[in-house]
Amino acid sequence: MPERTGMEVSIALSEAVKMCKTDVVSAYPITPQTHIVEHLAELVADDEMDAEFIPVESEHSALSACLGSSAVGARTFTATAGQGLELMHEVMYIASSMRLPIVMALCNRALSAPLSVWCDHGDAMSIRDTGWIQVFAENGQEVFDMTIQAFRIAEDADVLLPVVVNLDGFNLTHVVEPIILPDQEQVDRYLPEFHYPYPLHPDKPVSMGTYAPPHLYIEVKKAQDEALKNSKQIILKAWDEFRQIFGREYNPIELYCMDDADVAVMAMGSINETVSLAIDELREEGLKVGQLKLRLWRPFPHTELREVVKSLKTLIVIDRAISFGGPGGPVCSEVRSSLYEHEGMPHVIGFVTGLGGREVKTSDFKKMVRKGVEQAEKGLEEDYEIVGARE
């Protein structure tokens, strides 16, 4: 029987990677991802996990090694954070363009300078357009579940795309949470063996990542874009089957108190738990406010978003990243452009907050909701506001 165990989330994630019978792990340790890599290295060294652990000299090498192992058809995992992701950057595009279903845990960390090891989503936003499927977890159980789902989605013959599972650095990686560990039999039922359709093999040579002159490149990119967009159907199917086997439900946007809401707060990651507390308190004060937790970041769930916001007057979007000199936080500006050409959509108000690990309290979110509602009524003063920076 599945048991509920107190466990650090990084350890739980590593156990999920083990239960997925991962063949190859290649990663370079970096705060706050270190516990994942250390624990996986231990599992391999102690023969508890039948995998190759490839120690490398940098993150660029880590992801490059993953390309090779995924290309031969090995189930492949890596993990990184912040600056480590930046060093992987060029290889990110290659993994998705070559359609290699690598799974990465990204322990979200603010980017230097100034040097910070603490959480925000600046790193995740820097890889927004690299063509990976990208999901955000809110708590430890979701991190565990979404790691298993990630392999299932990535390796589906109709997807074949790498997946990033985002988990907030420290706020998730280093906290001990109750985790329901499934039976191995359940994981095996959910996750079939990996069969890459065109593996590198001397008996049947293939060339990957070949040269494409101008008369071929755009066709290949269009095919890649279609593949990422179409992956949503497989993601929904994979989540549905997950619910059937494990009993927990996953949706592109999770709803809280949305039935009669005319204001909603949208956020990604672990701050959603604090947002929920703010919603509860605001409800007690009589405000009809709800919450939208954006789980699926790529492919962006446009239709689901329009459906859930159409009865709202105001939508407040919280970003944990800045687009310097741009139209607002990345999530807010995408939400706005997704709704812009459609009738009857709410006002969209953007707040950027929680940068570099700054704590955002329930009372802060309550202030943002009140301010957002006011701004929606009066009209926008500015495209976005950075909340929490002292004058």
Partner: protein, 95 residues
Amino acid sequence: MQSSEELPGWKDFKPGAVVTDAGSARSYKTGDWRSQRPTYDFEKCIKCGFCYLFCPEGCIHVNDDGFMEADLYHCKGCGICAHECPMHVVTMVED
């Protein structure tokens, strides 16, 4: 370049544009990059093979008469063979 009717559409690619035919670079017509082509005065040729070794395209082969000559499907007209030939056998002309 091939006409657009012969070129693959976006649905024609395998995932990741993986190429499953070994040695398929052979079918890629680098010859259409060319603005000049090599011509030969084989009477002066000493069959030293410099042109063969230096050709970046690897497109020089031994013809029926035993002389080294470019395959124009792949020759991109760089003129390196003409530059390297010690006997001035090769002359580049407008294509």
